[in-house]
Symmetry: C2
Subunit: 134 residues, 2 copies
DNA sequence: ATGAACACGATAATCGTTTTCATTTAGGAG
DNA sequence: CTCCTAAATGAAAACGATTATCGTGTTCAT
């Protein structure tokens, strides 16, 4: 009874299993890696559904997506829903969520000064975590 | 008398034309866009060669490469060799080179605070330039 | 001028991701 | 609970950017 349909979002076995896996895994993984893990644990979920579910969760903001240097997409369920970035260990993938209000303002300012609108940005910090450093 | 083979780098008509185009165009463009521009001006260069040439120039440092949010590669011959970032129009590729010393220091600090070493980062700002906004 | 190494490019192959579409399922109405 | 239908699934095919092949053409040191 409404003019616009927001988002149906039905609870299916597949979505439940994808969500559960993302809950456990705390690193950035590709859709195919996640699909592989699901199969390992016996969950029967099609790769297509994994992609679709991840895509939906990214749109919802439940999941964060980034890309490897090769351009492959990586997904991760982040703890905070607010806009943030990541500090990632290039060895083990251990990730720390970070925020930088000052930096955010700076990007807006710079883009605006040059007449750019509809601004977006990507920032990733890579390093070697203390555990991997030894 | 060297253990490693640096790079032959022969001068061919194709490489000359790709280099010339990169000189003129001061924006981030995809390999296919560059290839299209070459064909427009009558230069007969294969797409494969455009890709190969760009890849080589990226390795040499002559060309900067980044990716669109869609994961597509963008290439550009930058004016400054010093570390910098880009403000890119997602429509036409018009690019502004930017520096952010404060932001640079911030990334170092954050990474250090979390015990990460050997720090590196990527930052790209995307927007719609004033010309494409209309 | 020669020729071996290098480069070109049409074509096929990769490979991550998306689209198709026939079939199944969730979940609200009755 | 039963029905109905829009939503979801997934096997298969399509897509699209990039890379690998490999026979042919070019460069450049000798
Ligand atoms: Mn940000
Ligand atoms: Mn920087
Ligand atoms: Zn690590
Ligand atoms: Zn533009």
């Amino acid at each position: 009874m409404n003019g616009s349909t927001p988002t149906p979002a039905r609870t299916t076995r597949q979505r439940t299993e994808v969500t559960a896996l993302l809950q456990e895994v705390n690193d950035f993984l590709t859709a195919q890696q996640l699909h592989g893990l699901l199969r390992e644990r016996g969950a029967k979920v099609g790769l297509t559904t994994v992609y679709r579910t991840l895509q939906r969760m990214v749109e919802t903001g439940e999941v964060d997506a980034t890309r490897t240097p090769d351009g492959e997409q990586l997904f991760r369920q982040c703890s905070r829903s607010r806009h943030h970035h990541h500090l990632v260990c290039r060895m083990c993938g251990r990730t720390v969520e970070i925020e930088g209000p000052a930096m955010e303002r700076w990007t807006e300012k710079v883009a605006d000064q040059h007449g750019y609108t509809d601004i977006a940005h990507t920032l990733e910090i890579f390093g070697t975590c203390s555990a991997c450093a030894r």
